[in-house]
């Protein structure tokens, strides 16, 4: 009996005392190895999805980059720039400090929080791993799905870098997956990054199909060859343009990034897209923007690529749309959404009165207080005051959906459109080949901006008169304003033209002129009258256009405040001066500083020493 027990006990003890070394190996279980992931197009596509997710991170493109980058310019400004109750204006008025409370946000251990920088670098790391994985384990040749995915990953990485450079100048360059050695990196010369991403886009363009060439590429949310080439052209212009370096504002001294090289590249890429016929302008500027708000995603038109926010994510309209003071027939999300930025009041008057883009771009009204009609809240357009305009390109009232979420509207960001490509072509052609080479592109942009009856004068005669290079350049700079206001592309363009401070100063002077009704604004009326169209919602105004100085009669009402005083004409000094902070030189603050949490976490590698 005793022996039985002893033997049994020893056997048991022996069973479990396994001492082999591999006992201590414990590989991850709920995962797949890179070899499996990157040799399968189905799985690799989900890795590319993983890169795109970072656009939607709470404080990424969604919550911070898109709502704040690109302000202020001579056409777009932060609408509460005069406020002192928070430091949001600093992000727009060239005085942001590294501790700005909207950006200096710590990341949580699970990857939440942070800001666009942490999200972009997360996207970059995901792209780096994806690119390395596809090259190692897949066979990413042109025409194959894996090749297409490689092109997508290369392009997404270039997008992150392009946006990091335009907001910070020099940033750390990471083109390989992180190792312990490369964990902390200093700022790298942006020329190195520009060269790499321009090269990458060159490769990507050989891998990715044209719009509508495949099922996937029939959506503007999928990266296509037309976008890659257009984006490459944009980057070429930026890389060779003026910008702030540690030693001041200048063009790159890297010979590869010379104007000659880069403009040639930009023109070549632009022409290839134009000649391909795979993209084109929408015949109507207004229809194009209506379609953006309607979330029409058909590729091959004017929109080249859009950040593919799902319908529950993204803040383009919540940030920028025409304001809705109350929950009404167009949105049930919240009271007082939209309108955080808008066009300068002068932009409206800079347009030719016949320019069809003007009323799409500049909106002077809000949707006001709602009244109950058949038990539902209904609001109508109500005029505001002269110093607050809204970007009409973004309108809840043009959407097909009713947004019910106060934080997200889900409308895509149009990342680049064909009209911008035409302007790049015009600019590069003007520089390299002279105004006559640029003229057709400029004419194409202007042509759809005017009714056919106006085109002879406003398009043909106007462009034909631009016979020297400087005049053509100036016209392109202006056209950029008419075409792109509200798309936050202008800031980078002003920087590369070395016109940032010049044009901000000019805009400020113009606003003082408008305030005083002097100079070009002597005929701008002081009083504005309004009435409603038959739908009892649409505003009809009198007094906004130059020369509307007569009393329009009793069918109109004069816009007054609650004391009965004519109220439209309000443009205060502090608001005008908020275009850039008094005492700050925008040309030495072309970029945001690197936010303090990032500097602190960089192990001494990052600093803002050059940022005065």
């Amino acid at each position: 009996m005793k022996h039985k027990i002893i033997i049994a006990g020893l056997v048991l003890a022996g069973l479990f005392s396994s001492c082999s070394e591999d006992y201590l190996d414990a590989p991850a279980q709920s995962t797949l190895d890179e070899a499996s992931i990157f040799s399968s197009p189905e799985l690799a596509r989900d890795v590319v999805n993983g890169i795109k997710i970072t656009f939607g991170d709470t404080n990424s493109y969604r919550g911070r980059f898109l709502p704040f980058y690109g302000l202020n310019t001579d056409t777009e400004w932060y609408n509460s720039g005069e406020t002192t109750s928070n430091d949001k204006p600093d992000l727009a008025n060239y005085s942001a400090t590294s501790t700005n409370s909207n950006m200096n946000l710590a990341e949580t251990a699970s990857g939440g929080g942070g800001q666009y920088w942490t999200s972009m670098y997360r996207g970059i790391e995901r792209a780096n791993k994806c690119i390395a994985g596809l090259r190692t384990y897949g066979n990413p040749v042109a025409g194959s799905e894996l090749g297409n995915l490689l092109g997508q990953a290369l392009t997404l990485r270039a997008i992150f870098y392009a946006d990091l450079i335009k907001s910070h100048g020099d940033v750390p360059a990471r083109f390989e997956p992180i190792t312990t050695q490369s964990l902390y990196l200093p700022r790298s010369n942006r020329d190195v990054i520009y060269k790499q991403i321009i090269k990458d886009l060159g490769e990507a363009a050989t891998l990715v199909p044209w719009p509508n060439e495949t099922t996937a590429s029939s959506s503007v949310e999928e990266i296509n060859k037309a976008f890659i080439k257009a984006f490459r052209a944009r980057l070429a212009m930026a890389a060779s343009g003026y910008q702030q370096y540690a030693d001041g504002v200048r063009r790159s001294d890297d010979p590869e990034l010379s104007v000659a090289n880069m403009y040639t590249l930009a023109l070549k890429e632009a022409r290839e897209v134009i000649q391909s016929g795979k993209a084109s302008l929408n015949p109507s500027f207004e229809t194009f923007w209506r379609n953006v708000n309607k979330e029409v995603l058909t590729a091959g038109g004017e929109s080249l690529w859009e950040i593919p926010f799902a319908s529950g994510r993204g803040k383009m309209l919540i940030s920028f749309a025409v304001v809705h003071d109350a929950i009404d027939q167009y949105q049930t999300a919240a009271n007082g959404i939209g309108g955080s930025a808008g066009p300068l009041p002068t932009v409206f008057y800079d347009y030719d009165q016949a320019d069809l883009r003007r009323d799409v771009t500049c909106v002077p009204y809000v949707y006001g207080k709602a009244v109950q009609v058949n038990g539902k809240p209904v609001a109508k357009q109500e005029l505001g005051i002269m110093n607050k305009w809204y970007f009409g390109k973004y309108r809840f009232e043009w959407m097909n959906r009713i947004v019910s979420n106060k934080d997200d509207d889900g409308v895509n960001k149009v990342y680049m459109r064909y009209a911008e490509l035409l302007l790049i072509a015009a600019e590069a052609a003007n520089e390299l080949e002279g105004p006559s080479a640029a003229a057709p592109y400029l004419k194409e942009v202007r042509k759809r901006a005017f009714a056919p009856a106006d085109q002879a004068i406003k398009v043909d005669a106007y462009v034909n008169a631009l016979t020297d290079k400087t005049a053509m350049f100036k016209a392109i700079v202006n056209e950029n304003k008419y075409e792109l206001t509200g798309e936050m592309e202008r800031k980078q363009s002003l920087i590369r033209w070395n016109l940032l401070k010049t044009n901000l100063d000019e805009a400020k002077a113009k606003m003082f002129n408008l305030q005083q009704r002097t100079g070009e604004y002597t005929t701008v009326p002081v009083d504005v009258y309004y009435k409603y169209a038959a739908d009892n919602e649409t505003l009809i105004t009198y007094g906004l256009n130059r020369g509307e100085n007569l009393n329009p009669g009793s069918s109109y009402t004069l816009l007054v405040d609650d004391k009965g005083v004519s109220s439209w004409n309000s443009l205060k000094d502090d608001k005008i001066n908020s275009i850039y902070k008094v005492g700050v030189n925008p040309d030495t603050h072309q970029y945001w500083p690197i936010w303090q949490v990032l500097v602190a976490a960089s192990n001494g590698q990052l600093d803002n020493n050059w940022y005065k």
Binding site: I5, A13, A106, R174, T180
Partner: protein, 1069 residues
Amino acid sequence: MNFKKLLNKRTNCYMAIVLLLCLLTSNKASAQDLTVEGVVKDASGLTLPGVNVVEKGAKNGVATDFDGKYKIKLSNSKAALEFSFIGFTTQVVAVDGKKTINIVLAEEANSLNEVVVVGYGTVKKSDLTGAVSTISGSTLSKIPVASVGEALTGRLAGVNVTSSEGSPDSEIKIRIRGGGSITQDASPLYIVDGFPVNSLSDISSSDIENMTVLKDASSTAIYGSRGANGVIIVTTKKGKDGKMQVNFNSFYGMKRMVNQIDVLSPEDFVNWQYEYALLGKGNTESYEQYFGNWQDRDLYNGVKANNWQKQIYGRTGDVKSYDLGVRGGSEKINYNFNYARYDDKAIMIGSDYVRNNLSMALNNKASDKIDLSFTVRYSDTEINGGGANVQGENAQDSRLRHVVGYSPIPMPGLTTDNTDEAVSSYLVNPFVAVADTDRLQKRKNFNMLGSFSWKLIDNLQFKSEFGLDNYAYLDYRFYGRSTFYARNNPLPENIGAPSLLVTDRKDVRFRNANTLNYDFKKLIGENHSLKVLVGEEMIDYTRNDMSSTIEGYPSFFDLDQSIKLTSQGSPRIVDNFYYPDDKLLSFFGRVNYDYKDRYLFTATYRADGSSKFLGNNKWGFFPAAAVAWKISEESFLKDVSWINSLKVRLSYGEAGNNNIPTGQTAQTYQASNSTWINGQGNYWAPTSVLANPDLKWETTVTQNLGLDFDLFKGRINGSFEVYKNLTKDLLMNFPVTGTGYSTQYRNMGETQNTGFEASVNISAIEKKDYGLNFSFNIGVNKNRINSLGSMSDFGVATNWASTAISTDYLVNVGSPIGLMYGYKSDGRYEVSDFDYASGKYTLKAGVADASTVVGAVQPGYMKLKDLNGDNLVNEKDQDVIGNANPDFTGGFVLNANAYGFDLSAAFNFSVGNDVYNANKIEFTTSSPTGQYRNLSSEMAQGKRWTNVDPNSGQLVTDPAALTALNENTTMWSPYMKNYVFSDWAVEDGSFLRLNTLTLGYTTPEALVSRLGVSKLRFYLTGTNVFLLTKYSGPDPEVSTRRATPLTPGVDYSAYPRSRQLVFGLNLNF
């Protein structure tokens, strides 16, 4: 490990246990003629191991085994037996032909003979060489609280127990000597019957025989790898020889909320709303919309306020506890059975806690050489309610903020009981907030242990132990429509609809340990004693989490409906995640040597291999040694009558820590699902934590000097300890933000804890019918970060205010963990700080401008100190403004008994720690998004700055009038652009709490013995009886931001503590 291997292992284990069960039930042993056997016990009925049993006048002798049993062959039947044991009076008994002699040895008044459970064995207390504290199960069971951990509060020197808040299942933080790690869990290792467990919360205190806390490395090093933060060893009750004993204990208690935050009265609330509208919106429209004309405000005078805190946290809770224990057995086999039920209805609506524990232990002495034992424990816990605060939740969903901030009076359009307001209003009805964050958790723990012990030859003992632990945790987390989660996480079409998150976690842990003990006592002479232990241990821990997300439920659904009607929602994510196995393989040894019982020496060595590390880093080696000198045994003290015992101990040792998640050495891809980007929601991405293939063990080096004393025949005893713990290669989850990952586990830096501990027990009066004793313990611990490796100092944000306050804690080399960082308050801006011209106030030259922090300053704004003298207050003017570490902590217990009555009062205290009163900041601030929220009475009218002329209802701008208006007010204006953390919100959190006060009565034995009852005691216990503190919040013992250990002592939306009165009885028969 692949699944098949795992399955095999599981099968093996079950087989082993079945086999052991068979062995237990079938054996016989033969007795010889001239043999006497029996059990030796002490007066309290505890068996005594190690008692010398000698035949008088002959040479043969034996010692009792672990269970106090002995068996001796006699040379003649008329012999006499001598029983001797240190600390007990020697007894001689004539055999007179008896076969069985059971002896009760009388104790010499002295506590040094207690046997203390240490790692893989026991040791007499007098022979201890390390820093060890113990507490008995009978003491614990006298403290009627839910958790064993909580019962330790204030009882043991150097063991700091804090319950983070007042909820029934609140996390109990136990820190032994401060804990070493910076960002990792510094919890001690919990060992229950040899088996490592995650927490003590699933064990019933009635099931515990005793607990031992190992504090220095010489005692913890035998646990090597995981002993760095101390070890708590729990031994559960085993069977006992003799007549069956039945214990029944029960208590019933009631509890109420103790403190709440005072809020503005309705008329004051309305007044403030008016002022807010004027200040914030520039007009009164938003006021008139809900409150009517300002002129009619007297409407609100005397209106009765809804006390939301009372409605949510104010119910009378009750506690019911029953436990039944049955023990008994014969010499061959004994048993213990225990059942306990704890049923706690907490003070917060919807919050309750029920736990059932069932345990059974069988011991079988198969022969005189073989012992078998088998233990099964089962526990089943159900927790209802989301509590007040859940870690990792968005601060917007904290319940207390709604309870305090919600309008005290019903305002049509602003407040409503209709759940529709959840999506339409600024304010969330507290009832809606509670229902919308409801939660149900079920934990089940099934633990089986078996051991086999074989005396191979004299003095050589082999022991093999097996254990299998099954842990299942089911968590239903409901997110109603008002939650941040519902607004942000679901698919677009389900945004704003209720969601349910279900996590079903299954852990399986298997352990096998084999040890050999050899006692050299006969081989090396009279004066020497040498014992050697060698052993081997393996632990395999597997975990699998199945998480499901179901969203888009009908809007009126609550938690219960969501759980039972899952088909009414749409499933979005089903994630079955298998964690990498956590495996540990160890070899260890220990030598105990003493010379003349005066000079003691202990050395241990352990090698641990962990699957959490790679290659050569897998193995950690942890040596330790200790010496002790029993001075009282020396001739010069031997005859000093008032010294019973005096011992000096010195130890040095290393212990390790691998307490990080598994799978940190290789970067893996994880599949997830997101609703943010159009197209496919599935995606693959690397984890947000960057892998580190170079990870290795964290090591703590401990030096300890201790003095144990026992004076005046045991009337005064206790110990003093000084120690220094140095933890190097700290395992830190280090932020690498901005690189593409958020954190990475690393070995970096060094921390140290130095301190002093004292515990003293005084038996002031010890008489037959009455007695009085007193025990006191105190611990002083100084924490210091010696190095952060290659990193420089960094800051941490608690994020209680979302992003409004960034860094509010610092981690600085040369300082302790828990430094609070913020502005220094300078009162408020007065009218005299400004120049007034044409309606505008401009700050006078020389007055520091805090506009970037508090908003463009005006008279009445909060004023902050300009520390760097640049006349501007900005982020550069922040400084260390608080320290969450106490100067010292401790407790004292007073026990008195007289003629059947017993009285016990247990106090605990903490001195010198600061509390970050975030509630105070939140409820005195009306930010631009905080319209219609109520404030705490700290901002009552007459205290707060006001800009409104009470007669005209107009804003006052005239300097003289404004000064006059605020002549008697002291606070700044609540209207601020955002929350500001200043030293005004840092308060001294020192306290003294009468934690439990018990009055009991034991009925005279004569009265009850006729009923077959051996003991009957009734008692009344009050818990949290009183609290002495200067802290202005509800309770200073609080820590609600626990996502990292770097942010201790924040009081934000804590579950309020209750005061409890319990009536109970103990019945033995």
